[in-house]
């Protein structure tokens, strides 16, 4: 066999002996998806091994203390397990928080079921190399335990490491983060605490991190942990213990045989061969939304649909790494884009992807075929979920009068999106001449349709920093003032006339939201209009060099301020370099103590 690793950043493959031990399926990672995958595979008679680096199964849902569910579809083996956990909780004397299951008892339920089904579990085992049959066929794993190295052959590997570590070691392709600055979603470092007489889990966000960069991970974890140090610990408000799981929402995402995007989901594109369904809103925790792409900004900000619950099919191909054989993934590293990864990561669905991967791998082993060649009907028959196709289209308002009525209301989001999807503008234009918020709502809808008649209203809204906030189903912190939305949309429409307005917004730094949206808009206009680059470049540089007022966002669910000035400096410097405009930002950055995350962005920007 061939031992495949990434060593010093390079793919290294060397010939090695065949291991003696053999399994049908090896599951790398016994966490949220992996534990269910191992159970589902062993229950189907597969000789199954699961390797878990911690000392327990269940991942974020047990060791990570996330012991409740956020939306999702209650379907599959994991729902039976949760019911058994409920039974176990009775008279157990274990802590059970309201509306949660006991993470401790779920650890036991998972491992006992895997063991009863004949599965083998190796805890405190870290996979360190992939064994390949040839250039593209995975045929086993090697791993490290306290007593040294181990290896085994198998017919299929299910990579449930959350960061596609096995796909990575096998030389597979993956993606990470968003396009603008390469950052993914924010993480949390959960802990159990006693507060106000009750036991709670702290889920407050910490900031950004690349979980596959141990430098960034180290920097973030140490700083986050140090924040918990108190001048004086008190019995009334204290920590019980810290989770040993770093709760990361997004890591590496594979390039799959099918790649799912938020754009496709919200535009009603038919997605064939679903093997699992997610049900969630596009739950971004990133409050610097202006750094997200247009799909996210149009959906979450301009159409105010952050809280809209979507039904998202996960196609079979999203579990199959492109160009590799004998391997599937389960969990958050599915082949979805960064936008959609903010929805397709909830525990119900992630557990179910474990079951789906196990079904696919088991059928492939039994039929002695590549998983791509297993008839889809066989897979679907074993998974037997309800089909939610077409569910997302129900949010669309069908008739013009409904859309107009919606645009006249204080909660116009659904109407704005419906107008955009309907694709006609004639009936919207008269609304621009009315008074009140309907003008703004019509302008937003027309902006999505790239109709130039909206520009006057958008400029007005941005100029006066219109502070209106629409009503949305959840009135979430992602809502943006109309002035900030208008600033973003002026950039989306490449409106050269608004450079003065946007420059004013960027200079004044009314808030991080305004500043990021104006920065986004100005750089886009500059991209489109080289003649304006000197003017825009001067504004961008001045803004990047100014230390005050401070520029930060609050992390979602916590009060932690997260500075974004250095990030804007780095991105501005890269942009001005590309435009060939001399500037003094690098000199400032060279003198600044950057965080590991900021250094990572700078490196990606070529410094």
């Amino acid at each position: 066999m061939i031992r495949s690793v990434i060593s010093g950043g390079k793919l290294v493959r060397t010939v090695c002996d065949d291991p003696r031990e053999e399994f049908d399926i090896i599951v790398a990672g016994g966490g949220t998806a992996g534990a269910i995958a191992a159970l589902a595979a062993a229950s189907r008679g597969m000789r199954t091994l699961v390797l878990e680096k911690s000392c327990a199964c269940g991942g974020i849902g047990t060791g990570g203390l996330v012991s409740n569910y956020y939306y999702g579809i209650r379907h599959g083996t994991h729902t039976e397990i949760d019911e058994s956990v409920r039974e176990r909780e009775r008279n157990s004397g274990y802590l059970v928080r309201p509306n949660c299951f006991s993470p401790e008892l779920k650890k036991i339920e998972l491992e006992q079921r895997i063991l009863r089904a004949g599965g083998v579990i190796r805890f405190e085992a870290v996979a360190d190399a992939v064994l390949m049959r040839d250039d593209s066929a995975v045929g086993g794993l090697s791993w490290h335990e306290a007593d040294g190295p181990h290896s085994a052959r198998c017919r299929y590997v299910i990579d449930a490491t959350a960061d596609a570590q096995i796909v990575f070691l096998a030389g597979g392709a993956f993606r990470f983060g968003r396009d603008s600055d390469g950052l993914a979603q924010t993480y949390t470092l959960n802990y159990s605490r006693l507060r106000n007489g009750g036991r709670q889990i702290n889920y407050g966000d910490g900031g950004y991190v690349n979980p596959s960069d141990s430098g960034e991970v180290t920097d973030e974890i140490l700083h986050q942990s140090a924040l918990l140090l108190k001048e004086r610990f008190t019995p009334e408000d204290r920590i019980d213990f810290l989770s040993d799981h770093f709760c990361v929402r997004e890591g590496r995402r594979i390039v799959g045989e099918a790649n799912l995007t938020l754009h496709d989901v919200i535009h009603g594109v038919k997605i064939p061969e679903a093997v699992a369904w997610e049900r969630s809103n596009c739950d971004t925790h990133n409050l610097d939304l202006g750094f997200e792409d247009d799909t996210m900004m149009l959906w979450c900000v301009a159409a105010m649909q952050w809280g809209r619950v979507l039904h998202i099919p996960v196609p079979r191909g999203a579990l199959i790494p492109k160009g590799l054989h004998g391997i599937l993934v389960a969990g958050r590293m599915l082949a979805v884009d960064h936008d959609l990864s903010q929805a397709v990561r909830m525990k119900d669905c992630m557990q179910f992807t474990g079951e789906a991967a196990a079904v696919m791998a088991s059928l492939a082993v039994r039929m002695r075929r590549d998983v791509r060649d297993v008839p889809y009907e066989r897979i679907a028959a074993e998974l037997a979920w309800q089909d939610f196709s077409g569910e997302n289209e129900k949010i669309l308002l069908k008739h013009q009068h409904e859309i107009v009525e919606g645009l006249r209301s204080p909660s116009p989001g659904r109407a704005i999106w419906s107008a955009y999807r309907r694709g006609e503008s004639g009936y919207l234009e008269p609304l621009l001449r009315e008074s009140g918020a309907v003008r703004a709502h019509a302008a937003f809808a027309l902006a999505l349709l790239r109709h130039p008649d909206c520009l006057g209203v958008l400029r007005e809204l941005a100029e006066r920093r219109d502070a209106t906030l629409a009503e949305t189903p959840r009135n979430e912190p992602h809502r943006q003032e109309y002035g900030a939305i208008a600033a973003y949309l002026l950039g989306f429409l490449h409106d050269k006339t608004s450079v003065g307005i946007l420059s004013g917004i960027l200079r004044e730094r009314r808030s991080a939201t305004y500043a990021v949206n104006a920065w986004n808009a100005l750089t886009r206009i500059g991209e489109d209009a080289p003649e304006l680059r000197p003017v825009i470049g001067e504004v961008l540089e001045a803004s990047a060099l100014a230390d005050s007022p401070p520029l930060f966002i609050r992390c979602f669910g916590s009060d932690r301020p997260l500075g974004i000035l250095n990030r804007m400096r780095i991105l501005t410097a890269a942009k001005l370099d590309r435009w060939g405009i001399p500037h003094g930002i690098h000199a400032v950055l060279d003198r600044t103590e950057l965080t590991a995350v900021e250094k990572g962005i700078r490196k990606r920007c070529g410094r």
Binding site: S7, I121, F246
Partner: protein
């Protein structure tokens, strides 16, 4: 490639102590995410906190815990350990990488080539000496136990074998002794069964969490593998301050 003076496996209390005065040519590699995990993750609040300490650094460390109300009359508020050690590492500029498991340390031309399994894949380091403060050789285990954090609205924790108070009312630990061959699934199952049928005087106490690793004591604290390769098991010390003290002092055995 940079050659480190010393690479330390384990951000343990001993390991951090050993790196404390070592300067920038020392690097700690830790497989987990918690400094002091041999106590904090094992839910082991330690014992004999009032014992003598050799070094000023360790006396300062213990005084820090007392000043912050985390060490009261010899009882320890264990969750304070990770924040304090994290803060100490940052303030002292100790070189450290979390999430890296050392898979081999091989002598080569007068140095050691140390390989790790890391999120980035396989990484290599060179060092003149290697100090392993974490690894457990199964055959060398003298004592093994599995601990649970327990809590109550009352403070009536029995003064019985296996129960230990934390620093605050209603904060305690249950230490379940095990044979050395016991696995995690067996340990968790035993804990569950014990707690379900626990004595009446424990009825008000609940298990808030079970340990994230076994608490183990080895036959010998220190073992020299080669002149430049030493193993000192930090978990063998009675408490975090004692382990830190020994690390600072470079003491190899207790």
């Amino acid at each position: 490639m940079k050659v480190y003076e010393k690479i330390i496996f384990g951000a343990t209390c001993y390991g951090i102590g050993a790196a404390w005065n070592a300067g920038p040519d020392t690097l700690i590699l830790e497989p987990g995410i918690h400094p002091g995990g041999e106590f904090a993750d094992a839910f082991d609040p330690g014992s004999a906190w009032n014992g003598p300490l050799q070094t000023g650094e360790a006396r300062w460390f213990r005084a820090c815990l007392e000043k912050r109300n985390a060490l009261r009359n010899g009882a320890f508020h264990l969750p304070a350990l990770i924040p304090l050690l994290s803060s100490m590492i940052l303030e002292n500029g100790i070189g450290i990488r979390l999430g890296q498991t050392v898979t081999s340390a091989i002598p080569e031309n007068g140095v050691l080539r140390i390989r790790t399994a890391a999120p980035e894949g396989e990484l290599e380091y060179l060092a003149f000496s290697y100090l392993d403060t974490l690894s457990v050789e199964h055959a060398a285990i003298r004592k093994k136990s599995f601990h649970a954090a327990i809590s109550s609205d009352t403070d009536a924790l029995p003064q019985a074998e296996g129960f230990q108070r934390g620093a605050f009312p209603g904060e305690g630990y249950f230490k379940m002794p095990l044979e050395t061959s016991c696995t995690y699934p067996d340990a968790r199952l035993r804990l569950e069964n014990f707690w379900r049928t626990r004595p009446a005087e424990l009825a008000a106490w609940t298990v808030t969490g079970s340990a994230m690793r076994f608490a183990v004591k080895l036959e010998k604290t220190a073992r020299r593998i080669a002149p430049n390769h030493l193993c000192v098991f930090s978990g063998n010390y009675e408490n975090p301050a004692a382990a830190f003290d020994a690390g600072v002092a470079g003491k190899e055995a207790s």
